[in-house]
Symmetry: C2
């Protein structure tokens, strides 16, 4: 039987049908997340019905639906408890009632960083590990942790998710979250444009020709010897290494999984962070191993099936 899977990104909503740990089909619709989630719900229903039709089934014949969502999710996985900017109306929506009425299925929700982690933990680089940390190098720095074979959730539901918001530079920059010197504001796509412009030789750099600086260009120009790009790369690798070290010191995992778009340059990132852990981890006899995520964008969709089966006590 199919699981209806949904990955609610800030710019696109990815819908899919998953069966026996395989993503069978996917459709992507624009998110317009700044306008809230409610206007998107009819489009989601239509898209899901179309996908089901093509597989010769009906939504009500699926096991259920699961959503990977930004924000804080209630501990029973039925409600979006709190949302930061994107999909501002989601906490006011009764999504389980919506899924029951419109699709005829039960619905469960989990935070998207945790879902990416589930996707790797159950089906990818984290298989058979009971202690792991995942960090996603995307727009920001997303994290999540598995401790003793269980997802860390914490008292308010934010446990493990804020690894990008530990203070690593106490005299540092003001983060979008309000805190000072978080990793995310010290080195991520959120801050890379500002960081570049603050570099004294910025105007001599190839990066000065880009409207919006992405890490892809930073890696490319750094390889060509561009001074500004080289500085940004070195600085970012340092901040990411410190971030991972702090996560290792916090959660004491066996492995650290790195995912996200920036990991296209994993060949440079992984050895740098591994080297930093070897040098600076307290634990003297065994350092956490840094590995690359395996399931890319499908991790969250695969996790939908796991979450649903887990919640419904299936298999």
């Amino acid at each position: 039987m199919y699981t209806i899977a949904c990955d609610m990104g800030g710019t696109r909503i990815k819908l899919g049908l998953v069966k026996d740990s395989k993503v069978i089909t996917t459709e992507v619709i624009p998110a317009y997340s700044g306008k809230g989630l409610k206007p998107r719900l009819p489009v989601m229903v239509e898209t899901i019905n179309n996908m089901c039709n093509k597989q010769n089934t009906l939504s009500k014949n699926c096991i259920g639906m699961a959503i990977a969502s930004p924000g804080v999710i209630s501990s029973d996985n039925r409600r979006i408890a709190s949302m930061n900017e994107k999909y501002f109306d989601a906490p006011s929506l009764n999504l389980t009632a919506w899924a029951k009425e419109e699709l005829g299925v039960p619905l469960f929700i989990e935070n998207d960083a945790r879902m990416a982690t589930i996707g790797e933990w159950k089906y990818g680089a984290g298989k058979n590990y009971d202690y792991l940390v995942m960090m996603t190098l995307g727009t920001g720095l997303g994290t999540s942790a598995v401790i003793n074979g269980q997802l860390l959730r914490g008292f308010h539901g934010i446990g493990g998710l804020l690894g990008g918001h530990f203070t690593v530079n106490y005299n540092g920059r003001k983060c979008t979250c309000g805190n000072i010197g978080c990793s995310e504001i010290e080195a991520s796509t959120v801050s890379i444009n500002e960081l570049a412009k603050a570099y004294p030789g910025f105007h001599d750099s190839k990066l000065a020709n880009e409207d919006v600086i992405e890490y892809e260009s930073v890696f490319k120009y750094a390889a060509d010897g561009d001074l500004c790009a080289s500085y940004l790369l070195e600085h970012s690798l340092k901040v990411w290494s410190i971030t991972v070290l702090n996560l290792v010191h916090a959660y004491d995992p066996e492995i650290v999984i790195l995912g996200g778009g920036i990991m296209a340059s994993g060949d440079i990132i992984i050895p740098a962070i591994q080297d930093y852990l070897e040098k600076y981890t307290w634990n003297p006899w065994d350092k956490a191993r840094v590995v690359k995520a395996e399931n890319g964008n499908n991790a969250a969709l695969l996790a939908c099936e796991w979450l649903l089966k887990n919640k419904l006590n299936l298999k």
Copy 2:
């Protein structure tokens, strides 16, 4: 029935008998921890036998013995797996066999920071909480965490213990642990003398007259308007606040318990850290509450009884 309790500090070893959540009697012997644990074992046996005699009992009639020890403890709580400087020989000793032969009782061991936390969690400020973090402001910064009603241990047994060794200042000082800019080296008794001497106006400060600067003097002279002491106090409160914020962002606890000798000035420390959490915690709707430890030096001894009963499945 009595529990034989032992708190292995760096300078003193505290022994006691605990019964029904009460410390009945204690004896303190010097630790000479730089010379290893082995030479201390006969003295410990003698002291324990004396304590038992005075209570009209024998060691073999006790439930068992538990030790709060520095270092990394094996996950079965039977062995000291790794030790940093103090009691260097402890990992090579078969302490369970020693307790069986010399005292006729089973023995269990746990890390001293976790034992202090158990003492507060089960008998003190953390009673009835399933999500808590403890930080001890002593010589260094010790930490430990309870998540979902369970002590965090981690894959290698160091989970939760290294909260004083997250990097909070990435351009900071080299810590005794080898890492850069840890909280412990940025502001604790470990570093306060160096910090004071680096202050430009140090020689005009009353602190310049002290052989070894302790936080007690820092708080006292800061209250008198001493500039160097005021700077050190402000700096330390900032570092400790950031440390607690990072712990809150890591573990998402309901409460944070602060213990250790420096908490004699808790009236100043607690409001400062609480205020910082109110300002900078990500979680917008409910901040962790900062409270003072209640059981002081007895926390670890009380925890010995809990550990033993827990391990032996009693009560």
